[in-house]
């Protein structure tokens, strides 16, 4: 079984989509340090992807310090995870943010209107953190 949710989208490299889903699961705590992570063979079989793609996924996640391959045990989520920076968290939302920006531009909206709409929505969900004010102090996540 694959311990993270994944529905493939057309046009984006499969390895990127899997790395993204796995990273999200680890950063959000759905997968905890020491939890077993699927092997190359399991990833390939269960997601029905090329073994080379599965191999690439495990290599990349290892290189980023998110999983480790323990000889004789298998692949597990790394015991000490690199602390996700604000930029890294924002990076996980990159696709969604891009989609929002594109749709907003198509509708001819101004950035301030979009920020205001996001702020309203954020507050309606009772977010504990104060949202960035819509006017002034614009912050970009790079």
């Amino acid at each position: 079984m694959i311990p993270f949710r994944l529905v493939f989208q057309p046009g984006v490299a499969l390895s990127e989509q899997i790395i993204y889903a796995a990273t999200k699961a680890i950063v959000s705590g759905q997968l905890r340090p020491g939890d077993p992570f699927p092997s190359v063979r399991t990833l390939s079989r269960e997601l029905k992807i090329n073994p080379n793609t599965a191999h690439k996924v495990v290599m990349q996640l290892t290189a980023r310090g998110l999983v480790e391959v323990l000889p004789g045990i298998g692949t597990v989520v790394a015991a000490t995870l690199p602390k996700p920076t604000a930029a890294a968290r924002a990076g996980l939302l990159g696709g969604e943010i891009e989609g929002l920006v594109v749709e907003s531009k198509k509708l001819g909206m101004q950035l301030d209107d979009v920020l205001a709409a996001v702020t309203r929505h954020w507050q309606s969900l009772g977010g504990t953190e104060p949202a960035q004010p819509a006017k002034g102090g614009r912050k970009t996540n790079e």
Partner: protein, 301 residues
């Protein structure tokens, strides 16, 4: 990288039809090569030529480094071949069939054969003629994987199988795919697009294109331009931009040579008034439809 299969202007004519026409096919070692095309495009004929079931009218093919016309039991012991309409000794039971095949294959692995029978839930004591279509295909695949072939050739393996059996079939294939070259033909792309590493599109006996999966997905984008006023169509429309469509304030086309730098620059040059430019990644199915339509138009022109 060397090729497991390599054909040179391979052709096969039946009476008046060219079923396969000067085909140059390269299946790299270790690849999972998807041979895609509509029904009647020449996929099965190509595979039968490769397996020396049919004799070529012209051209040649090499399989595992041997001329396909000289394939001997020695090579066939390294090839697993499963086809949609495989002939099997109908009177044998599943167990008997596997025991019967065993001595032909020096690399036969009893434990693996057992594994496959168990995984596929094949009824060991049932005669092949009494198996359902799905069971037959699974028995054929089990008998072709049990000797760990270097090359697996699958001709339309998914036709007529229900979703569950397709799933099992794919999974057990991929579980053993490492270090194996797989050639798989299908008219249905969705089934194989996620695990194929290479794809060839065959139509009317011609190989229309052959490409690595990754580069194919990278170079196609659907582009949508939005304007405030009806857009002017430039006279020097780029050849790589396929199937342009326009409506009141939108221009849509498929860029077949998408480049993250070059395409936006080209759009800026030809459509300086575009209010918004949107690039959509495309599914392989959409890409194939676009290519097939483009081929049809080219022929009509």
């Amino acid at each position: 990288m060397s090729s497991s299969i390599s054909t040179h202007e391979l052709s096969k004519a039946f009476r008046h039809t060219e079923a396969v026409n000067a085909l140059d096919l390269e299946v790299p070692e270790g690849s999972i090569y998807a041979l895609i095309g509509p029904n009647g495009a020449g996929k099965t004929t190509t595979i039968k030529l490769l397996m020396n079931i049919l004799r070529a009218s012209a051209g040649s093919a090499e399989v595992l480094g041997v001329d396909s016309r000289r394939l001997s039991p020695r090579e066939f012991a390294r090839i697993g071949y499963v086809s949609e309409n495989q002939e099997m000794p109908e009177w044998m039971t599943v167990d008997y069939f596997l025991r019967y095949l065993r001595p032909f294959y020096p690399t036969w692995d009893d434990a693996l054969a057992d594994d496959l029978v168990r995984q596929f839930e094949l009824p060991r004591d049932r005669k092949l003629r009494h198996l359902s279509r799905g069971m037959r295909m699974k028995a054929a695949l089990a008998s072709s994987l049990a000797y760990r072939p270097e090359l697996v050739v699958l001709d339309e393996p998914f036709t007529g199988l229900d979703a569950l059996v397709r799933d099992e079939f794919t999974k057990s294939l991929l579980e053993r795919a490492e270090g194996t070259t797989i050639l798989i033909s299908s008219h249905d792309l969705a089934e194989i697009e996620n695990f194929a590493s290479h794809v060839g599109y065959i139509e009317e006996g011609h190989l229309r294109f052959t490409e690595e999966m990754g580069t194919l997905a990278d170079r196609f984008r659907q582009v949508e331009l939005t304007f405030d006023a009806p857009p002017p169509l430039p006279a020097d429309w780029p050849a790589a931009w396929m199937r342009p469509e326009t409506s009141a304030a939108v221009v849509r086309f498929i860029d077949s040579r998408f480049d993250v730098e070059r395409t936006p620059a080209e759009i800026q040059r030809l459509f300086p008034n575009a209010r918004n430019v949107d690039f959509h990644a495309m599914s392989l199915r959409e890409i194939f439809v676009a290519l097939a339509m483009a081929g049809r138009h080219a022929k009509a022109a």
